[in-house]
């Protein structure tokens, strides 16, 4: 191939890229070094609400509150959506539905039946997973882009149903959602700090869970499905089951986020869960680098934090997300911090749904030119 020389040079040069050096070190780091890093990250998360950091990060609003919502909540949601979009390669445009189901379960059983947070949050997770399976079972056999529209429809169905059902408050929503009962002497009242620690704990839990999954047989099956579903099926991967599993696990994480969010918010209504939230979380996953957890967390952080820090952005937030999505897809479809594998997939033009029709290469876009162009 004509482009080989250029590509090889590109590869050799890449090892000096700081991100790649970090990755190479990480891949070979002994266990104690890794645990030190984990510990440092957790300590960092715990001192993050400190006022002196807040002064810079969020001068206009209470930093700890911002850390809980949107930042922490978006990160949790993005990790959940990443399982579906990044790992299994399916496009879900109605992820907010599971967030809503988690939130409404907690609010409904908490206010009407007086159940405790810890019980209702588990119920929310289970119900979200069940609804994920109910939605997924008939639709996951569809081609990827149909799935996107069906999930979008599902998100709207959940919202409109909540709006039209008086039993769960209708358009007025549910007020006085109970706070969690105290744990380890931490009381969950109006102070945002305990909620922040709660969501950090949830994020740590979900990250560990997600990483373990990714490295297991399940994760490899997802990667195979993402790259080439037909080939995966031929190799004996029960693709439907694994897609359903990805959907259910994503839904569970969404439900967990919904429960935690509702217990802090006290009040939820159908419009707390608009389509735009699904699109925002998708933007976070894509911006960060679908399939790569640090990237996804970074993406969610950026998308949640920027409008809070720079208030003039807030109004133009969605406009910017839209432009970012278009630009990212044209310039860097793998995201800011992609996994190497995913990047390679995207540049080979595989990964998920195959290419568009009418994609016959023209004279200005033959294969070698494409390789050089994308470095």
């Amino acid at each position: 191939m004509k482009g080989d020389g250029v590509t090889a040079k590109g590869n050799a040069g890449r090892a000096f890229h700081p991100v790649d050096r970090v990755r190479d070190w990480w891949a070979e780091a002994p266990q104690w070094q890794r645990y030190t890093v984990y510990l440092a990250l957790i300590v960092f998360a715990l001192i993050l609400p400190a006022p002196w950091i807040g002064q810079f990060m969020s001068p206009q609003s209470d930093w700890t509150t911002v850390l809980f919502y949107p930042i922490g909540t978006y990160i949790l949601l993005a990790i959940g959506l990443n399982v579906v979009v990044g790992q299994a390669g399916m496009l879900d445009l109605g992820f907010v539905a599971f967030f809503a189901i988690g939130g409404y379960t907690l609010a409904y059983f908490g206010t009407k039946h007086g159940l405790d947070f810890w019980a209702t949050v588990v119920m929310g997770i289970v119900l979200a997973a069940v609804s994920g399976v109910i939605l997924g079972a008939p639709t996951l056999r569809l081609r990827g882009d149909y799935l996107a529209i069906v999930t979008l429809g599902f998100g709207e169905i959940v919202r409109i149903t909540a709006n039209n059902t008086n039993e769960i408050g209708g358009a007025r929503g549910i007020t006085n959602v109970p706070h969690p009962s105290p744990v380890f002497g931490m009381k969950f009242l109006l102070d945002p700090a305990p909620y922040y620690y709660l969501i950090v704990a949830a994020i740590v839990l979900v990250v560990v869970f997600s990483v373990r999954l990714q490295k297991s047989r399940v994760g490899r099956a997802w990667a195979a499905i993402r790259e080439d579903e037909d080939a995966a099926e031929l190799m004996g991967v029960p693709t439907f089951k694994f897609k359903l599993l990805a959907f259910a696990i994503g839904a569970m994480i969404g439900g967990l986020a919904g429960g935690i969010f509702a217990s802090k918010a006290i009040f939820i209504e159908p419009n707390t869960f608009p389509f735009i939230l699904s699109a925002t979380i998708l933007a976070a996953v894509v911006l960060g680098g679908a399939g790569n957890l640090p990237g996804v967390i970074l993406g969610a952080f950026v998308i949640a934090w920027l409008p809070e820090r720079f208030r003039f952005i807030a109004e133009y937030r969605i406009l910017l997300f839209g432009a970012v999505l278009v630009l990212m897809m044209a310039l860097r479809p793998e995201g800011l911090l992609p996994s190497r594998q995913r990047k390679a997939e995207l540049h080979e033009g595989t990964g998920g749904m195959g290419t568009m029709g009418a994609e016959v290469p023209g004279p200005d876009s033959d294969a070698s030119a494409a390789e050089v162009g994308t470095k």
Binding site: G89, L91, L93, P138, T139, L142, R143, G144, D145, Y146, A148, I149, V150, L152, G153, F154, E156, I157, I160, T161, N163, N164, I276, A279, L282, A283, V286, Y316, I318, L319, F321, G322, A323, L325, V326, L327, M328, M329, A330, P333, L346, G349, T350, G351, G352, M353, G354, T355, M356, G357, A358, E359, V360, P361, G362, D364, S365, A370, G373, T374
Partner: protein, 320 residues
């Protein structure tokens, strides 16, 4: 009771046919682009939204003081249809140029193209909500904008107790005329043959000397123009619009396209009408607040039981 149900049924049928015609026109855009590019043009709903504002601005510029009748009414309608179709068609071409062409040239994945489409949709919606509508109308962009009435809403005749009004007839007849023109264009002209050839087999089409870029451009132009026509009828019938008007209507039109068999022009017509009727009939029993849910449930049900739609995929060979 039964009498009442029968009357409601007739009124709903008229309403369903009218809104169904509009769904059908918008569905054409989804179906054509999907046929050629295998891409759900998610931003098509925004092309429709832009069309409603083209119609609205034209109408407020003409500013009819009273509802018109006869030739003046038809003249104004044709004028807003043409302007709206031109604006929407041009927007769709621009959209293709900016959001999709670079991806197509790179051979990007369909997932990437769909995400780009979603981005373009969000961008256009917000651009109108924040800036453009205010600039066009001088009113806050987030508010609903109402259009002046220019069609005399006389009852022409009644069936049972369902009034068939002038505007109902105009929408349905107008939609049929436009669709016949499009159908003839695609089946008779050279460009139309190019579109069908590209939909069937892009590589073979290139070898036969079809310029793919040109075909894609024409496809977006035609699909956008159809959305523009739909937008003009929408403004005439509903008499208001806002920056989010395309969102739900777009999903429904896509449902109509899938229902009729995506890639199939005549299927889009049928899917639009069927969807309009079913959602209006369903609303008799469940209440009109459930209309959208009915439409989405139909979408899921069709995809479950007959993913190729009622008429199947015919503009293209069905490929997974």
């Amino acid at each position: 009771m039964l009498q009442e149900l029968q009357n409601q049924f007739l009124t709903s049928t008229v309403g369903g046919l009218v809104i169904g015609s509009i769904y059908a026109l918008v569905a054409l855009g989804y179906t054509m682009v999907y046929g050629v590019l295998r891409l759900i043009n998610f931003a098509h709903s925004e092309i429709f939204m832009i069309g409603t504002f083209a119609s609205l601005v034209t109408l407020t510029t003409i500013a009819p003081t009273a509802p018109l009748g006869g030739f003046a009414m038809i003249g104004v309608l044709i004028l807003i249809v043409i302007i709206s179709a031109a604006v929407s068609g041009a927007s769709a071409m621009l959209l293709e140029l900016i959001a999709y062409r670079p991806l197509r040239k790179k051979g990007a994945t369909r997932l990437a193209a769909l995400i780009s489409a979603i981005g373009a949709s969000l961008f256009l919606q917000e651009l109108f909500g924040l800036e453009v509508i205010n600039w066009l109308t001088g009113k806050p962009g987030r508010n609903q904008q109402s259009a002046p009435r220019f069609v005399d809403r006389d009852t022409v005749f009644t069936i049972g107790n369902a009034d068939i009004r002038t505007d109902h007839i105009l929408v349905v007849i107008g939609a049929i005329i436009v669709m016949v023109i499009l159908d003839q264009f695609v089946s008779r002209t050279k460009l139309g043959r190019g579109i069908r050839a590209t939909a069937q087999d892009p590589e073979a089409a290139v070898l036969m000397g079809v310029s793919i870029d040109n075909i894609v451009r024409v496809t977006f132009l035609l699909g956008g123009a159809m959305a523009g026509v739909a937008a003009a009828f929408y403004v005439m019938e509903i008499e208001n619009t806002d920056y989010r008007v395309g969102f739900v209507l777009g999903i429904k039109a896509f449902t109509a396209a899938v229902l009729g068999g995506i890639g199939n022009l005549r299927g889009a017509l049928m899917g639009g009408i069927v969807l309009g009727l079913v959602e209006n009939w369903g609303a008799i029993f469940l209440g009109s607040e459930w209309k959208d849910v009915i439409a989405f449930v139909i979408l899921v049900a069709v995809l479950m039981f007959r993913p190729t739609g009622i008429l199947g995929e015919s503009l293209q060979r069905a490929r997974a």
